[in-house]
């Protein structure tokens, strides 16, 4: 029973009170009531979401855009799968690069077997594709033929008519020249002739459009065959890269080659015919040793994947958020404590708060950028490349700018809420402090900050939300590898999956934002004393 209430309280604190009846039902408490609650607050919303998905699937393909049709849910799922596949393959490549000895040879054999298999499959699929292409062509021809012949016949007929009109007008022109006919008659004839030509052209255009339409119609079997070939060819390419990474591009192989070369140079001392050759050999030896050293510590540099983007984005937003907190809360406390300081800060807050993150990003690129003219040797980046997890993210100036932008925009809610929390100190609590004659520091730590904590954390939560929104825009603009850049690159790329990738990123961004918000809610409820969550 004890556990039950712990779970319920946990759900309550984390803001998942919706699942309360599920837990109660599992413990057999008033089943009818719980089932009714589940129906109302879980099943109905789930059905609603499913209906939304169904509506999307129905409407999306109807809207054709420059970047292809709006993706339906299946395409978005496919995008998610492909992004996951890419990430998985990069992981495998990283491991392959480091394999050595028997392990490497064994894996190489496996991969080669897989390649042989894949080649067969790809050939088969290519043959199938050819058949489908033929089939497509013949069915297209069949569809086009009647229209085409109609078009051709009509075109020939109109050409003739047009020529006849030209001859007629020429004859009339001669008559006008000879003053046999009034010029107005010729003008009337030309007008009529032009109208005729226009009408004929319109008629031809209709047929031409019909032809184009037929040509652009998709032929399902062909599309399928093509995408099958594409995905299998992709897999084959991946296997071939693996083969390279297990042979010529493998670290241990490269090291072995370098060692052999070094041995060759060392041997050349014996056969050296002059002093300068000896010197050259020694120089070569030094170089070779250095290059072996470098090779030994080398790692495979995987291409950026969606998971790296997510990690970088989350890391950046947390850094930015912490910067905002470190600056915002002390400033907020000062604002709340001192009316003069508040009066000084008010114009600054009022003017800088509404400034767009894009502007801040540019300003930070200029100002902060000046601090590291040479990022490779700057202590900040050197230090970041030595921290265990952070080094895999590749901290760079673009990330710093993004984090600063996040901090700048996330600063204000924290600052304002902290100031408000400190300002709205209960006069009763002030009296207590006065009777106990607490000094400034004791007042601050024992009365002011604890009483302001709920409001401070409410501000932090808003800051986190703002920060996450701002970050995506900042990354897109600063090209800091992250979800924002992912979206931007997809928009620029224009591959067949572009649109679906953007929608997929939209969901990823939303879900991560949701998780961050939940974390902040839990923190907020833990510190808030007017709430039941205080003692958890």
């Amino acid at each position: 029973m004890e556990l039950k209430y712990k779970i319920l309280k946990g759900l309550d604190v984390s803001g998942f009170a919706v699942f309360d009846p599920v837990v109660r039902l599992a413990y057999g408490e008033e089943p009818q009531k719980q089932i009714r609650a589940i129906g109302k607050f879980i099943i109905v919303p789930v059905i609603f979401i499913l209906v939304c998905f169904a509506l999307t699937d129905w409407i999306a393909p109807k809207h054709k855009t420059k970047s292809g049709q709006v993706p339906d849910t299946a395409t978005i799922r496919k995008s998610a799968k492909i992004n996951h596949l890419i990430a998985k393959r990069e992981g495998i490549k990283t491991v392959d690069f480091l394999r050595e000895g028997a392990d490497r040879e064994k894996t190489l054999l496996e991969v080669q077997a897989l390649i042989a298999e894949k080649v067969a499959i790809v050939d088969e699929l290519k043959a199938e594709l050819k058949i489908q292409e033929e089939a497509y062509k013949s069915q297209l021809d069949a569809k086009l033929k009647p229209i085409q012949s109609k078009y051709d016949a009509l075109k020939a007929k109109y050409k003739e008519a047009s020529n006849a009109r030209k001859a007629q007008s020429k004859a009339l022109a001669t008559q006008v020249y000879n003053k046999q006919v009034e010029p107005s008659e010729l003008v009337a004839l030309l007008k009529e002739s032009d109208a005729q030509t226009e009408a004929e052209r319109a008629e031809l255009d209709i047929l031409k459009n019909q032809l184009d339409e037929k040509r652009s119609e998709k032929y399902e079997p062909l599309e399928l065959a093509r995408s099958n070939v594409d995905s299998e060819a992709d897999a084959l390419m991946f296997l071939k890269t693996r083969e390279q990474l297990l042979t010529s591009r493998n670290r241990s192989v490269k090291v072995a080659e370098a060692v052999e070369k070094k041995q060759g140079i060392a041997d050349s001392f014996e056969t050296a015919t002059s002093e300068s050759k000896v010197l050259n050999a020694a120089k070569g030896l030094v170089r070779q040793e250095l290059s072996i050293e470098r090779l030994e510590s080398q790692k495979y540099a995987p291409a950026a994947t969606i998971y790296l983007y997510i990690q970088r984005s989350v890391f950046t937003v947390i850094v930015g958020f912490l910067l905002a907190v470190i600056i915002g809360i002390p400033l907020g406390i000062l604002c709340g404590l001192n009316k003069v300081f508040m009066a000084c800060m008010t114009p600054i807050i009022a003017i800088f708060k509404p400034v767009s993150p894009v502007v801040w990003l540019l300003i930070f690129q200029i100002i902060v950028g000046a601090f590291f003219p040479n990022p490779d040797t700057h202590p900040l980046f050197v230090a970041a490349s030595n921290i265990p997890w952070v080094q895999t993210l590749g901290v760079n100036p673009a990330m710093v700018f993004s984090a600063c932008t996040v901090a700048m925009c996330a600063l204000w809610p924290s600052l304002v809420n902290t100031a408000l929390g400190v300002c709205s100190l209960d006069p009763d609590h002030v009296n207590v402090a006065r009777v106990l004659r607490l000094n400034f520091w004791e007042r601050l730590t024992k009365i002011i900050i604890p009483s302001a904590l709920p409001l401070i954390f409410a501000g932090l939560r808003i800051s986190m939300g703002v920060g996450w929104m701002v970050l995506i825009a900042a990354e897109a603009l600063s090209s800091s590898d992250g979800l924002g850049k992912f979206v931007w690159d997809e928009y620029q790329n224009g591959s067949s999956l572009t649109f679906a990738n953007i929608m997929f990123a939209c969901f990823v961004i939303g879900i991560i934002g949701f998780i961050l918000d939940r974390v902040m809610i839990v923190l907020q409820r833990i510190v808030s004393f007017d709430d039941s969550g205080a003692s958890v």
Partner: protein, 268 residues
């Protein structure tokens, strides 16, 4: 000395009035409380009772006059004059224990951790909260919260206890319980006490003397009534004696007269 343990002399509280003379809410308030005595201050609401108490507590500055407690002019607010406010004024993020500990830490800085803990436990059990020491204010009833407020005040071992309508927001049953809690504590601790109230029965039951204040503005001490009952007192037995109704009568007629005077003044 002992009959002038608390000496309030010619106390004035005046608020500036931008359109005329300063408004003297309290004017020429004189009161002496001997050591260990319980003095109630009674009067109509708005007559300035709380203003006097806040000045004695040092929470608001007096305009003129002096307040001497234990032979010294008061230097502002301080833990030597502990206040129990009308609302419990507990810090909601601290448990009952920590709320009391906050003051104890401040006043007994030189005492060991263990002893401080004992002081807190002692004062919480004096208000019969030994079983709810680690509850948060929101988990306690209004009466329990006020008990914590009382425990916090007495834990400071003050020279003077100031009660600002401490039972004003409680129902009558809880109020009687808490009156007994305070009476019992004072029987042991003998702290000089000043209580603001407008409840006649409460004043008669608890006080050694009752100070009746005239209606404001320019409120001052009207009469001082000595309550001549032996301690410990018993509510029922007190009521059986004729003098109880004599006291009530005097208090009531004073308050009524004040009201009449005020009406007359308004008419004039």
């Amino acid at each position: 000395m002992s009959d002038k343990y608390v000496d309030i002399f010619d106390l004035v509280k005046a608020y500036p009035n931008p359109f005329g003379e300063a408004i003297r809410v309290v004017d020429g308030f004189n009161l002496r409380i001997p050591k260990g005595e319980f003095m109630s201050v009674i009067g109509h609401s708005g007559c300035g009772k709380s203003t006097v108490l806040n000045m004695v507590a040092g929470l608001i500055p007096s305009s003129e006059g002096s307040i001497i407690v234990a032979g010294r002019e008061i230097p502002g607010s301080g833990p030597d004059r502990a206040v129990v406010f009308q609302s419990p004024c507990l810090l909601p993020w601290l448990t009952a224990f920590d709320n009391v500990m906050l003051g104890v830490n401040k006043c007994y800085a030189h005492v060991s951790e263990q002893e401080r803990k004992q002081i807190v436990e002692y004062s919480l059990s004096a208000v019969e909260l030994q079983d709810s020491m680690y509850k948060f204010p929101k988990e306690m009833s209004g009466g329990m919260q006020q008990r914590v407020g009382i425990a916090r005040a007495i834990a400071l071992k003050p020279n003077m206890l100031l009660l600002d309508e401490p039972f004003g927001r409680l129902d009558s049953l809880t109020r009687m319980d808490l009156q007994d809690v305070i009476v019992n504590i004072l029987a042991k601790e003998k702290i000089t006490t000043m209580m603001i109230t407008h409840d006649i029965d409460e004043a008669v039951y608890m006080s050694d003397k009752i100070c009746m204040m005239t209606n404001g503005p320019q409120a001052k001490v009207g009469e001082i009534l000595e309550i001549d009952y032996e301690r410990p007192r018993h509510r029922q037995q007190m009521m059986l004696e004729d003098k109880y109704f004599g006291y009530r009568e005097r208090l009531l007629s004073f308050l009524e007269n004040c009201e009449k005077e005020k009406e007359a003044r308004v008419k004039a």
